[in-house]
Subunit: 234 residues, 2 copies
Protein backbone atom coordinates (compact mmCIF):
# COMPACT_ATOMS: atom_id res chain seq x y z
CA UNK A 1 0.00 0.00 0.00
CA UNK A 2 1.83 3.07 -1.23
CA UNK A 3 0.75 6.58 -0.40
CA UNK A 4 0.99 8.88 -3.41
CA UNK A 5 1.78 12.52 -2.74
CA UNK A 6 0.94 14.93 -5.55
CA UNK A 7 3.24 17.68 -4.38
CA UNK A 8 5.57 20.51 -5.22
CA UNK A 9 2.87 23.14 -4.57
CA UNK A 10 5.03 24.42 -3.00
CA UNK A 11 8.03 22.25 -2.22
CA UNK A 12 8.31 23.18 1.46
CA UNK A 13 4.62 22.39 1.95
CA UNK A 14 5.23 18.94 0.46
CA UNK A 15 8.04 18.34 2.94
CA UNK A 16 5.79 19.56 5.79
CA UNK A 17 3.01 17.19 4.70
CA UNK A 18 5.36 14.20 4.34
CA UNK A 19 6.71 14.91 7.82
CA UNK A 20 3.17 15.01 9.21
CA UNK A 21 2.36 11.66 7.53
CA UNK A 22 5.37 10.15 9.31
CA UNK A 23 4.34 11.74 12.61
CA UNK A 24 0.79 10.32 12.20
CA UNK A 25 2.09 6.78 11.51
CA UNK A 26 2.33 4.36 14.43
CA UNK A 27 5.86 3.03 13.82
CA UNK A 28 8.89 2.25 15.96
CA UNK A 29 11.31 1.12 13.23
CA UNK A 30 11.78 1.99 9.54
CA UNK A 31 10.03 -1.17 8.39
CA UNK A 32 6.76 -0.24 10.17
CA UNK A 33 6.38 2.97 8.16
CA UNK A 34 4.19 3.25 5.07
CA UNK A 35 5.68 3.28 1.57
CA UNK A 36 5.41 6.71 0.00
CA UNK A 37 5.87 7.93 -3.55
CA UNK A 38 6.08 11.64 -4.23
CA UNK A 39 5.61 13.47 -7.50
CA UNK A 40 6.67 17.04 -6.86
CA UNK A 41 6.38 19.12 -10.00
CA UNK A 42 6.92 22.75 -9.07
CA UNK A 43 6.30 23.74 -12.68
CA UNK A 44 2.54 23.26 -12.17
CA UNK A 45 1.17 26.70 -13.10
CA UNK A 46 0.14 28.95 -10.20
CA UNK A 47 -3.24 27.69 -8.98
CA UNK A 48 -4.33 30.95 -7.44
CA UNK A 49 -3.51 32.92 -10.60
CA UNK A 50 -5.53 30.46 -12.70
CA UNK A 51 -8.57 30.91 -10.45
CA UNK A 52 -8.25 34.67 -10.81
CA UNK A 53 -8.13 34.31 -14.60
CA UNK A 54 -4.51 35.41 -14.72
CA UNK A 55 -2.73 32.21 -15.73
CA UNK A 56 -3.03 28.80 -17.43
CA UNK A 57 -5.21 26.01 -16.07
CA UNK A 58 -2.99 23.64 -14.00
CA UNK A 59 -5.29 20.65 -14.56
CA UNK A 60 -3.15 18.93 -17.26
CA UNK A 61 -0.11 19.04 -14.93
CA UNK A 62 -2.14 17.61 -12.05
CA UNK A 63 -3.55 14.84 -14.26
CA UNK A 64 -0.03 13.94 -15.42
CA UNK A 65 1.22 13.78 -11.83
CA UNK A 66 -1.69 11.66 -10.68
CA UNK A 67 -1.09 9.25 -13.57
CA UNK A 68 2.60 8.96 -12.69
CA UNK A 69 1.79 8.24 -9.05
CA UNK A 70 -0.72 5.59 -10.09
CA UNK A 71 1.92 4.05 -12.37
CA UNK A 72 4.37 4.01 -9.44
CA UNK A 73 1.93 1.90 -7.43
CA UNK A 74 0.17 4.54 -5.35
CA UNK A 75 -3.08 3.14 -3.98
CA UNK A 76 -4.38 6.53 -2.87
CA UNK A 77 -3.32 10.09 -3.63
CA UNK A 78 -3.04 13.04 -1.27
CA UNK A 79 -2.59 16.56 -2.69
CA UNK A 80 -1.07 18.90 -0.10
CA UNK A 81 -2.21 22.13 -1.77
CA UNK A 82 -5.56 23.63 -0.79
CA UNK A 83 -5.88 25.74 -3.94
CA UNK A 84 -5.24 22.73 -6.18
CA UNK A 85 -8.43 21.21 -4.77
CA UNK A 86 -10.39 23.60 -7.02
CA UNK A 87 -9.16 21.46 -9.95
CA UNK A 88 -9.31 17.97 -8.42
CA UNK A 89 -12.77 16.88 -9.64
CA UNK A 90 -11.43 16.55 -13.17
CA UNK A 91 -8.18 14.94 -11.99
CA UNK A 92 -10.19 12.37 -10.00
CA UNK A 93 -12.00 11.16 -13.12
CA UNK A 94 -8.64 10.45 -14.77
CA UNK A 95 -7.30 7.92 -12.22
CA UNK A 96 -8.62 4.72 -10.70
CA UNK A 97 -7.26 5.31 -7.20
CA UNK A 98 -9.01 7.54 -4.66
CA UNK A 99 -7.81 11.11 -4.20
CA UNK A 100 -8.36 12.41 -0.69
CA UNK A 101 -10.21 15.68 -0.03
CA UNK A 102 -8.21 17.96 2.25
CA UNK A 103 -11.06 20.44 2.64
CA UNK A 104 -13.61 17.82 3.67
CA UNK A 105 -11.15 16.27 6.15
CA UNK A 106 -10.48 19.68 7.69
CA UNK A 107 -14.16 20.50 8.09
CA UNK A 108 -14.76 17.08 9.67
CA UNK A 109 -11.99 17.76 12.21
CA UNK A 110 -13.41 21.20 13.00
CA UNK A 111 -16.84 19.67 13.65
CA UNK A 112 -15.46 16.98 15.94
CA UNK A 113 -12.71 18.92 17.75
CA UNK A 114 -14.41 22.32 18.04
CA UNK A 115 -18.15 21.59 18.36
CA UNK A 116 -18.91 24.97 19.99
CA UNK A 117 -17.39 27.15 17.27
CA UNK A 118 -19.93 28.91 15.04
CA UNK A 119 -17.69 31.20 13.00
CA UNK A 120 -14.49 30.18 11.19
CA UNK A 121 -11.80 32.58 9.97
CA UNK A 122 -10.25 31.58 6.64
CA UNK A 123 -6.60 32.25 5.86
CA UNK A 124 -5.93 31.04 2.30
CA UNK A 125 -4.77 32.10 -1.14
CA UNK A 126 -6.94 34.56 -3.04
CA UNK A 127 -7.71 31.71 -5.44
CA UNK A 128 -8.97 29.42 -2.66
CA UNK A 129 -11.07 32.23 -1.20
CA UNK A 130 -12.54 33.18 -4.60
CA UNK A 131 -13.27 29.57 -5.54
CA UNK A 132 -15.27 29.25 -2.30
CA UNK A 133 -13.76 25.84 -1.50
CA UNK A 134 -13.86 26.24 2.27
CA UNK A 135 -16.95 28.47 2.36
CA UNK A 136 -19.13 25.83 0.67
CA UNK A 137 -17.90 22.99 2.88
CA UNK A 138 -18.05 24.98 6.13
CA UNK A 139 -21.48 26.47 5.41
CA UNK A 140 -22.82 23.02 4.52
CA UNK A 141 -21.65 21.99 8.01
CA UNK A 142 -23.62 24.87 9.54
CA UNK A 143 -20.66 27.18 10.13
CA UNK A 144 -20.24 30.84 9.29
CA UNK A 145 -17.07 31.89 7.46
CA UNK A 146 -15.14 35.14 7.85
CA UNK A 147 -12.58 36.08 5.19
CA UNK A 148 -10.05 38.93 5.32
CA UNK A 149 -10.87 42.24 3.68
CA UNK A 150 -9.41 42.90 0.24
CA UNK A 151 -6.36 44.81 1.40
CA UNK A 152 -5.50 42.30 4.14
CA UNK A 153 -5.97 39.41 1.71
CA UNK A 154 -3.94 40.99 -1.06
CA UNK A 155 -1.09 42.25 1.11
CA UNK A 156 -0.85 40.40 4.41
CA UNK A 157 -2.02 36.87 3.49
CA UNK A 158 -0.57 36.81 -0.02
CA UNK A 159 2.68 38.35 1.22
CA UNK A 160 3.06 35.75 3.96
CA UNK A 161 2.44 32.86 1.54
CA UNK A 162 4.88 34.30 -1.00
CA UNK A 163 7.61 34.52 1.64
CA UNK A 164 7.28 30.83 2.53
CA UNK A 165 7.36 29.85 -1.15
CA UNK A 166 10.65 31.77 -1.40
CA UNK A 167 12.02 29.74 1.52
CA UNK A 168 11.73 32.61 4.02
CA UNK A 169 10.23 31.36 7.30
CA UNK A 170 11.32 34.43 9.24
CA UNK A 171 9.38 36.84 11.42
CA UNK A 172 8.24 39.12 8.57
CA UNK A 173 5.83 36.53 7.18
CA UNK A 174 4.66 35.54 10.65
CA UNK A 175 3.87 39.21 11.44
CA UNK A 176 1.90 39.60 8.22
CA UNK A 177 -0.26 36.56 8.89
CA UNK A 178 -0.75 37.57 12.54
CA UNK A 179 -2.18 40.87 11.28
CA UNK A 180 -4.72 38.98 9.16
CA UNK A 181 -5.56 36.72 12.13
CA UNK A 182 -6.23 39.76 14.31
CA UNK A 183 -8.67 41.14 11.77
CA UNK A 184 -10.56 37.84 11.62
CA UNK A 185 -10.61 37.59 15.43
CA UNK A 186 -11.99 41.14 15.68
CA UNK A 187 -14.72 40.15 13.24
CA UNK A 188 -15.93 37.28 15.39
CA UNK A 189 -14.01 34.20 14.20
CA UNK A 190 -13.85 31.48 16.86
CA UNK A 191 -10.98 29.63 15.18
CA UNK A 192 -8.72 30.02 12.18
CA UNK A 193 -8.13 27.65 9.27
CA UNK A 194 -4.57 27.77 7.94
CA UNK A 195 -6.08 27.03 4.52
CA UNK A 196 -2.94 27.28 2.40
CA UNK A 197 -0.22 24.65 2.90
CA UNK A 198 2.43 27.35 3.31
CA UNK A 199 0.68 28.86 6.33
CA UNK A 200 1.19 26.08 8.92
CA UNK A 201 4.92 26.70 8.39
CA UNK A 202 4.42 30.19 9.84
CA UNK A 203 1.58 29.64 12.30
CA UNK A 204 1.73 27.85 15.64
CA UNK A 205 -1.21 26.25 17.41
CA UNK A 206 -2.76 29.65 18.14
CA UNK A 207 -2.80 32.99 16.36
CA UNK A 208 -4.43 36.24 17.59
CA UNK A 209 -5.57 34.20 20.60
CA UNK A 210 -7.57 31.74 18.47
CA UNK A 211 -6.90 28.04 17.86
CA UNK A 212 -5.42 27.35 14.42
CA UNK A 213 -6.68 24.32 12.49
CA UNK A 214 -4.02 22.81 10.21
CA UNK A 215 -5.44 21.20 7.03
CA UNK A 216 -2.02 19.72 6.20
CA UNK A 217 -2.14 17.73 9.45
CA UNK A 218 -5.79 16.80 8.89
CA UNK A 219 -4.91 15.47 5.42
CA UNK A 220 -1.91 13.59 6.86
CA UNK A 221 -4.06 11.89 9.50
CA UNK A 222 -6.68 10.98 6.88
CA UNK A 223 -3.94 9.64 4.58
CA UNK A 224 -2.52 7.34 7.25
CA UNK A 225 -6.03 6.24 8.30
CA UNK A 226 -6.99 5.35 4.72
CA UNK A 227 -3.64 3.71 3.97
CA UNK A 228 -3.84 1.49 7.05
CA UNK A 229 -7.45 0.57 6.19
CA UNK A 230 -6.37 -0.86 2.82
CA UNK A 231 -4.64 -4.23 2.75
CA UNK A 232 -1.12 -4.30 1.31
CA UNK A 233 -0.81 -5.79 -2.18
CA UNK A 234 0.44 -9.38 -2.21
Amino acid sequence: MSIGILGGMGPLATVDFYRKVIDATPAGIDQEHLPVVVWADPTVPDRSAALSGRGPDPTPWLVRGAHRLEAMGARLIATPCNTAHAFLDEVRTSVRVPMLDMIAETVAEIRSDHPDVVSVGLLATTGTVRAGLYQRALEAAGLRVVVPGGLTQGEAVTGAIRRVKAGDLGAAGACLIERASEELAARGAGLLVAGCTELPLLLGERSAGLPVVDPTAALARATVREALARPAPV
Copy 2:
Protein backbone atom coordinates in the same frame (compact mmCIF):
# COMPACT_ATOMS: atom_id res chain seq x y z
CA MET B 1 15.21 17.39 -15.11
CA SER B 2 13.75 15.42 -12.21
CA ILE B 3 15.74 14.59 -9.11
CA GLY B 4 15.08 11.02 -7.96
CA ILE B 5 15.27 10.36 -4.24
CA LEU B 6 15.70 6.73 -3.25
CA GLY B 7 14.43 7.16 0.28
CA GLY B 8 12.56 5.73 3.24
CA MET B 9 15.80 4.76 5.01
CA GLY B 10 14.49 6.08 7.32
CA PRO B 11 11.48 8.23 6.49
CA LEU B 12 12.47 11.23 8.63
CA ALA B 13 15.91 11.25 7.00
CA THR B 14 14.23 11.40 3.58
CA VAL B 15 12.21 14.41 4.69
CA ASP B 16 15.38 16.04 6.06
CA PHE B 17 17.19 15.45 2.76
CA TYR B 18 14.31 16.75 0.65
CA ARG B 19 14.18 19.86 2.81
CA LYS B 20 17.93 20.38 2.34
CA VAL B 21 17.54 20.04 -1.46
CA ILE B 22 14.95 22.82 -1.36
CA ASP B 23 17.20 24.94 0.85
CA ALA B 24 20.10 24.43 -1.60
CA THR B 25 17.99 25.48 -4.62
CA PRO B 26 18.16 29.09 -5.77
CA ALA B 27 14.41 29.76 -6.12
CA GLY B 28 12.03 32.59 -5.25
CA ILE B 29 8.75 31.05 -6.45
CA ASP B 30 7.40 27.49 -6.77
CA GLN B 31 8.10 27.35 -10.49
CA GLU B 32 11.85 27.93 -10.02
CA HIS B 33 12.25 24.80 -7.89
CA LEU B 34 13.44 21.48 -9.29
CA PRO B 35 11.03 18.63 -9.98
CA VAL B 36 11.51 15.81 -7.49
CA VAL B 37 10.29 12.23 -7.44
CA VAL B 38 10.62 10.20 -4.26
CA TRP B 39 10.47 6.45 -3.83
CA ALA B 40 10.35 5.84 -0.10
CA ASP B 41 10.13 2.15 0.64
CA PRO B 42 10.62 1.67 4.36
CA THR B 43 10.37 -2.08 3.90
CA VAL B 44 13.93 -2.19 2.52
CA PRO B 45 15.61 -4.64 4.91
CA ASP B 46 17.85 -3.13 7.58
CA ARG B 47 21.12 -2.18 5.85
CA SER B 48 23.24 -2.32 8.98
CA ALA B 49 21.95 -5.77 9.96
CA ALA B 50 22.73 -7.09 6.47
CA LEU B 51 26.33 -5.84 6.71
CA SER B 52 26.67 -7.57 10.06
CA GLY B 53 25.38 -10.82 8.53
CA ARG B 54 22.17 -10.65 10.55
CA GLY B 55 19.59 -9.97 7.85
CA PRO B 56 18.69 -10.19 4.15
CA ASP B 57 20.56 -8.29 1.44
CA PRO B 58 18.62 -5.09 0.66
CA THR B 59 20.03 -4.86 -2.89
CA PRO B 60 16.90 -6.17 -4.69
CA TRP B 61 14.74 -3.54 -2.93
CA LEU B 62 17.20 -0.80 -3.86
CA VAL B 63 17.34 -1.95 -7.50
CA ARG B 64 13.54 -1.95 -7.65
CA GLY B 65 13.36 1.57 -6.25
CA ALA B 66 16.01 2.87 -8.64
CA HIS B 67 14.12 1.34 -11.57
CA ARG B 68 10.88 2.97 -10.45
CA LEU B 69 12.56 6.36 -10.15
CA GLU B 70 14.07 5.98 -13.62
CA ALA B 71 10.64 5.05 -14.99
CA MET B 72 9.18 8.19 -13.34
CA GLY B 73 11.64 10.34 -15.27
CA ALA B 74 14.43 10.83 -12.73
CA ARG B 75 17.59 11.97 -14.50
CA LEU B 76 19.79 11.38 -11.48
CA ILE B 77 19.29 9.52 -8.21
CA ALA B 78 20.29 10.52 -4.69
CA THR B 79 20.15 7.96 -1.88
CA PRO B 80 19.95 9.66 1.52
CA CYS B 81 21.17 6.67 3.54
CA ASN B 82 24.88 6.29 4.23
CA THR B 83 24.68 2.58 5.00
CA ALA B 84 22.84 1.87 1.74
CA HIS B 85 25.94 3.11 -0.09
CA ALA B 86 27.59 -0.23 0.73
CA PHE B 87 25.16 -1.77 -1.78
CA LEU B 88 25.05 0.92 -4.45
CA ASP B 89 27.71 -0.42 -6.84
CA GLU B 90 25.36 -3.20 -7.89
CA VAL B 91 22.36 -0.86 -8.01
CA ARG B 92 24.30 1.53 -10.26
CA THR B 93 24.85 -1.15 -12.88
CA SER B 94 21.07 -1.70 -13.10
CA VAL B 95 20.08 1.84 -14.13
CA ARG B 96 21.14 4.20 -16.91
CA VAL B 97 20.98 7.39 -14.82
CA PRO B 98 23.81 8.46 -12.50
CA MET B 99 23.53 7.70 -8.79
CA LEU B 100 25.32 10.24 -6.63
CA ASP B 101 27.89 9.19 -4.03
CA MET B 102 27.13 10.72 -0.63
CA ILE B 103 30.40 9.54 0.89
CA ALA B 104 32.58 11.01 -1.88
CA GLU B 105 30.69 14.33 -1.73
CA THR B 106 31.19 14.49 2.03
CA VAL B 107 34.92 13.79 1.83
CA ALA B 108 35.26 16.44 -0.90
CA GLU B 109 33.54 19.00 1.35
CA ILE B 110 35.79 18.09 4.28
CA ARG B 111 38.88 18.59 2.13
CA SER B 112 37.74 21.98 0.86
CA ASP B 113 36.06 23.37 4.00
CA HIS B 114 38.42 21.96 6.66
CA PRO B 115 41.86 21.79 5.00
CA ASP B 116 43.71 21.78 8.35
CA VAL B 117 41.94 18.79 9.87
CA VAL B 118 44.00 15.60 9.97
CA SER B 119 41.77 13.30 12.02
CA VAL B 120 38.05 12.71 11.45
CA GLY B 121 35.66 11.19 13.99
CA LEU B 122 33.04 8.91 12.46
CA LEU B 123 29.52 8.65 13.86
CA ALA B 124 27.62 6.08 11.79
CA THR B 125 25.73 2.80 11.95
CA THR B 126 27.67 -0.28 12.90
CA GLY B 127 27.15 -1.48 9.32
CA THR B 128 28.68 1.66 7.82
CA VAL B 129 31.63 1.44 10.22
CA ARG B 130 32.20 -2.26 9.52
CA ALA B 131 31.90 -1.83 5.77
CA GLY B 132 34.65 0.81 5.95
CA LEU B 133 32.79 3.16 3.60
CA TYR B 134 34.07 6.37 5.16
CA GLN B 135 37.42 4.99 6.28
CA ARG B 136 38.47 4.06 2.74
CA ALA B 137 37.40 7.41 1.27
CA LEU B 138 38.87 9.50 4.09
CA GLU B 139 42.16 7.59 4.19
CA ALA B 140 42.47 7.90 0.41
CA ALA B 141 42.21 11.66 0.96
CA GLY B 142 45.07 11.52 3.47
CA LEU B 143 42.92 11.73 6.59
CA ARG B 144 43.02 9.61 9.74
CA VAL B 145 39.73 8.17 11.02
CA VAL B 146 38.66 7.63 14.63
CA VAL B 147 35.69 5.38 15.32
CA PRO B 148 33.91 4.87 18.67
CA GLY B 149 34.86 1.93 20.88
CA GLY B 150 32.62 -1.13 20.75
CA LEU B 151 30.47 -0.22 23.74
CA THR B 152 29.97 3.41 22.64
CA GLN B 153 29.14 2.25 19.11
CA GLY B 154 26.73 -0.46 20.23
CA GLU B 155 24.96 1.56 22.89
CA ALA B 156 25.34 5.31 22.38
CA VAL B 157 25.47 5.62 18.58
CA THR B 158 23.07 2.78 17.79
CA GLY B 159 20.70 3.93 20.54
CA ALA B 160 20.62 7.49 19.20
CA ILE B 161 19.92 6.33 15.63
CA ARG B 162 17.19 3.98 16.82
CA ARG B 163 15.43 6.80 18.68
CA VAL B 164 15.28 8.97 15.57
CA LYS B 165 13.95 6.06 13.51
CA ALA B 166 11.17 5.74 16.12
CA GLY B 167 10.33 9.44 15.64
CA ASP B 168 11.90 10.50 18.95
CA LEU B 169 14.02 13.63 18.46
CA GLY B 170 14.19 14.38 22.18
CA ALA B 171 17.10 15.01 24.49
CA ALA B 172 17.80 11.34 25.27
CA GLY B 173 19.13 10.63 21.78
CA ALA B 174 21.05 13.90 21.68
CA CYS B 175 22.73 13.02 25.00
CA LEU B 176 23.70 9.58 23.70
CA ILE B 177 25.33 10.95 20.59
CA GLU B 178 27.05 13.73 22.54
CA ARG B 179 28.67 11.02 24.66
CA ALA B 180 30.06 9.37 21.52
CA SER B 181 31.26 12.75 20.22
CA GLU B 182 33.13 13.38 23.47
CA GLU B 183 34.92 10.06 23.17
CA LEU B 184 36.01 10.87 19.60
CA ALA B 185 37.13 14.38 20.63
CA ALA B 186 39.19 12.93 23.48
CA ARG B 187 40.85 10.58 21.01
CA GLY B 188 42.01 13.41 18.77
CA ALA B 189 39.28 13.92 16.17
CA GLY B 190 39.35 17.41 14.68
CA LEU B 191 35.83 17.20 13.30
CA LEU B 192 32.92 14.79 13.31
CA VAL B 193 31.04 13.24 10.40
CA ALA B 194 27.33 12.68 11.12
CA GLY B 195 27.59 9.61 8.90
CA CYS B 196 24.09 8.24 9.31
CA THR B 197 21.18 10.27 7.91
CA GLU B 198 19.35 10.09 11.25
CA LEU B 199 22.17 11.87 13.09
CA PRO B 200 21.90 15.38 11.58
CA LEU B 201 18.38 15.40 13.06
CA LEU B 202 19.96 15.22 16.53
CA LEU B 203 23.22 17.09 16.03
CA GLY B 204 23.71 20.82 15.56
CA GLU B 205 26.66 22.47 13.86
CA ARG B 206 28.99 21.48 16.68
CA SER B 207 29.19 18.55 19.09
CA ALA B 208 31.69 18.06 21.93
CA GLY B 209 33.24 21.34 20.76
CA LEU B 210 34.00 20.00 17.26
CA PRO B 211 32.47 21.03 13.93
CA VAL B 212 29.95 18.52 12.61
CA VAL B 213 29.95 17.72 8.88
CA ASP B 214 26.49 16.79 7.56
CA PRO B 215 26.58 14.30 4.65
CA THR B 216 22.84 14.80 4.05
CA ALA B 217 23.50 18.48 3.31
CA ALA B 218 26.58 17.62 1.21
CA LEU B 219 24.48 15.20 -0.86
CA ALA B 220 21.72 17.82 -1.19
CA ARG B 221 24.17 20.43 -2.48
CA ALA B 222 25.66 17.92 -4.92
CA THR B 223 22.18 16.93 -6.09
CA VAL B 224 21.18 20.52 -6.86
CA ARG B 225 24.56 21.19 -8.51
CA GLU B 226 24.22 18.13 -10.79
CA ALA B 227 20.55 18.79 -11.54
CA LEU B 228 21.21 22.38 -12.58
CA ALA B 229 24.15 21.25 -14.73
CA ARG B 230 21.89 19.02 -16.82
CA PRO B 231 19.58 20.59 -19.37
CA ALA B 232 15.87 20.01 -18.89
CA PRO B 233 14.30 17.49 -21.29
CA VAL B 234 12.44 19.09 -24.20
